[in-house]
């Protein structure tokens, strides 16, 4: 069911009756909407009636520079698309019109759901809370295993029932829903940068946090500018080889590593997800090299989530990742000094839980995306007193230092 209309539209009599039934059923079943479909990250897209073109909403884009003959260069992501008049960048959501760059997805939401923050996954960020999760069309890479390709690999006008939601309206909805956090997620939020930036700034003023769930394929200047407004980040580290990024994602590894180092330098809270795919990025050596780099460059306190692949999109020829492979990846991470390594997409696995890095005491017990118990007190282990890295209160989310701008760089918003 596409729940977006119930968040943003005035309800009709039919809506009220239908939602009454749904809520009744939800109440009977407990936490109904916290469980995702297997292999499908985003609720709602599974029932989209297929791509259909609707119309285009235009808004001035940030981070581009003119070149010649009404052409321009996008400087938002490392791809640096050279875009001629009437053409779009690789992402499909930024268009050159008469030599000026425009975003076509400002507020054009195609998905909106109230998710547990654990679904992002962010395990060390306000555990057990809900994040109002939104997306638009588009992505700046193309992973052949994308779980949300029905929105990430389409243009905005091709998605049926996209709804324009202003940042102000979104904040109102979050307040009404008592969501402590907005998650920019599902597709690739870098491509709806302008909307994310403006909304996060407004949300910060309203005491609502903002987390970006991203592939990390973004240039340093826009990243730093954005992080002044964000309160957390999750990055998909797809693999640790350029070959994988090139052949499987149409992207590059190096800029993603640069993003991680920038995040570390800024001091914003972030976690990593690594989707382990049989034969492509599951070698023990590659995982070991990755973990060593993380510990060395980012420190041991950055959580790493090793998640299980399910066949989808253009990668239907590979099997599901064996649970033993995920378990082995987690073991390697712990052996290499990562303090918090998790198993993902494996229900009821002890690797979903958080254990104190110092005394191994169980701190947070989870079942899927639900938190069963959380004994962390004031950010510390109740058993040994060790400080547990993460964001444990909304106050802490806003307490970090404001990210400095790039030295000498132009900080204008174009």
């Amino acid at each position: 069911m596409d729940c977006r209309h119930n968040f943003f539209n005035e309800p009709t009599r039919r809506d009220i009756l239908r939602w009454g039934m749904v809520c009744g059923a939800a109440g009977a079943l407990g936490s109904l909407r916290l469980a995702p479909a297997a292999g499908q990250d985003v609720a709602g897209t599974g029932t989209l009636p297929g791509p259909h073109l609707n119309g285009i909403n235009r808004h001035d884009a940030m981070h581009w520079e003119p070149t010649s003959d009404q052409r321009l260069r996008c400087t938002l992501c490392p791809r640096e698309c050279e875009v001629a008049d009437v053409e779009r960048g690789y992402c499909g959501v930024r268009e050159n019109r008469d030599g000026k760059y425009q975003t076509l997805v400002y507020g054009a939401l195609c998905s909106a759901n109230l998710d547990p923050i654990e679904k992002k996954p962010l395990f060390h960020y306000l555990p057990g809370t809900a994040a109002f999760s939104i997306a638009t069309a588009g992505c700046n890479i193309e992973c052949k295993f994308c779980q949300n390709w029905q929105i990430s690999q389409f243009r905005p006008e091709q998605l049926e029932n996209s709804t324009i939601v202003t940042p102000e309206r979104l904040i109102e909805v979050c307040k009404a829903r008592r969501a402590q956090t907005i998650a920019y997620t599902y597709s690739e939020p870098v491509v709806f940068y302008e909307y994310m930036h403006d909304t996060a700034a407004l949300a910060r003023g309203a005491g609502i946090g903002s987390v970006m769930i991203s592939n990390g394929y973004i240039q340093e200047k826009p990243l730093r500018q954005l992080c002044r407004q964000l309160t957390g980040v999750k990055i998909d580290l797809k693999a640790f080889t350029e070959k994988f990024y090139r052949d499987t994602c149409a992207g590059e590894l190096k800029p993603v590593l640069a993003t991680l180092e920038t995040l570390k330098g800024i001091g914003i809270w972030f976690e990593l997800v690594i989707l382990i795919i049989p034969t492509l990025n599951d070698s023990a050596d590659e995982i070991k090299q990755m973990c060593r780099w993380v510990v060395r460059q980012l420190g041991p306190n950055v959580p790493m989530h090793f998640t299980r692949f399910h066949p989808t999109y253009r990668m239907m020829n590979l099997p599901r990742t064996p649970v033993s492979t995920i378990e082995r990846a987690r073991e390697i991470a712990l052996e290499e000094g990562v303090h918090y390594a998790y198993v993902g997409n494996v229900r009821m696995h002890p690797g979903e839980n958080t254990y104190c890095h110092q005394c191994r005491h169980e701190l947070i017990s989870r079942i899927g995306f639900n938190v069963r118990a959380n004994v962390i007190a004031d950010g510390k282990c109740p058993n040994c007193g060790a400080e547990i890295p993460g964001i444990w209160s909304q106050q802490a989310a806003f307490a970090r230092p404001v990210a400095p701008s790039v030295t000498g760089a132009d900080t204008s918003d174009r």
Binding site: L53, E87, Q158, R314
Partner: protein, 343 residues
């Protein structure tokens, strides 16, 4: 009709300062340009040395006014082109050689930036009708209704007469297919028009430059048949253009290319840029879509050289997709295997 005098626009305006070339000059220049275009750059021929025929039909009457004023001239040019392709003196016989009354024909135009002229498409429809193709079996299409309208096409989503609508139309058979189709390196949803509604294709691109692919001609035009062309502009769109047209929805159905050169553009495409507009005043017609693109690309290169611009290769955007298509056996890309007929 029948004149082969070429007229060229100055870079600073569409039709001012025209300089006429004589028939001898035109043939000499075009022939030299085509011959000079590096044959090896357009792939390799194998075995029995297959060949292709492409007709370049021009009339300087098209220089004057707007193209829609010259419907008779366009019909004459097109019929002449079809007759030379079919090697017959009878226009109807020529059209019947390529099209049967039972065909369901999709006419893919290009309305992004510098657009296909509706009058050219009208001439094609008239030719098809002369071959007893039912009007109801003809769909003129592109990506968007709004772009078709802006280009001067009249939308028709009814069941009466030839239809005209975009893939985005709220019409029966519009939209994209739900499933991803793979072809080479591409993975795309195809327009339902090309996938489900038609069994025969006519491609009507514009003779124009493209900032990444080098040229935007017949093969590149079918980027408008997939939902995600933005993903496939790297490496001069190569091999992605060939991947798209190789697909079973395109290549086996593609019967004819009529490249609209009435109003062309030799630089800064695909968007409209008056500074590089070119009144080529003609049509490039061929049944081998690779050969037709090869000839049109050579004409653009010739014009660029005449205007003092660097070649597409020197600008880092050679139309490599033509060579790739030739190498795959989709058609003839080598200029020395193409018979160019001027009328």
């Amino acid at each position: 009709m029948g004149s082969t005098c070429a007229t060229y626009a100055r870079p600073d305006g569409e039709s001012s300062g025209l300089r006429k070339l004589t028939r001898r000059e035109f043939i000499s220049r075009t022939g030299a340009a085509l011959a000079a275009y590096p044959a090896v750059a357009f792939g390799q021929s194998h075995g029995a040395e297959p060949s292709a025929r492409v007709v370049v039909a021009r009339d300087d009457a098209l220089t004057k006014g707007v193209v829609s004023e010259h419907r008779g001239v366009l019909r004459g040019l097109l019929d002449a082109g079809m007759q030379r392709l079919a090697a017959t003196s009878d226009p109807r016989t020529a059209w019947r050689k390529f099209f049967q009354p039972t065909n369901r024909i999709g006419i893919k135009v290009n309305t992004l930036g510098l657009s296909t002229q509706p009058a050219v498409v009208d001439a094609i429809v008239a030719g098809l009708r002369s071959a007893d193709v039912r009007a109801e079996n003809i769909i003129i299409w592109d990506r968007f209704d709004v772009e078709l309208l802006n280009a001067g096409f009249r939308l028709n989503k009814s069941t009466g007469g030839s239809r005209c609508f975009g893939t985005d139309a709220d019409a029966i058979g519009s939209g994209y297919q739900r499933e991803i189709e793979s072809s080479g390196q591409i993975g795309s949803c195809f327009s339902r028009i090309v996938a489900e509604q038609v069994d025969t294709l006519i491609c009507v691109p514009v003779l124009k430059d493209h900032n990444l692919a080098g040229v935007s001609l017949g093969m590149k035009n079918f980027f408008g048949a997939i939902h995600n062309p933005n993903k496939y502009h790297a490496s001069n769109c190569d091999p992605f253009v060939a991947d798209v047209v190789s697909h079973r929805f395109i290549a086996p159905k593609w019967r004819l290319t009529v490249c609209d050169g009435t109003r062309a553009q030799y630089h800064a495409g695909p968007g409209r840029h008056p500074g590089f507009a070119w009144h080529f005043c003609g049509l490039i017609v061929g049944s081998d879509f690779v050969a037709t693109d090869a000839v049109a690309a050579a004409l653009l290169e010739s014009k660029r050289a005449e205007a003092g611009l660097r070649s597409l290769a020197e600008e880092g955007r050679p139309p490599r997709h033509i060579a790739t298509a030739g190498a795959r056996g989709l058609g003839i890309a080598r200029m020395d295997r193409i018979e160019v007929i001027e009328v």
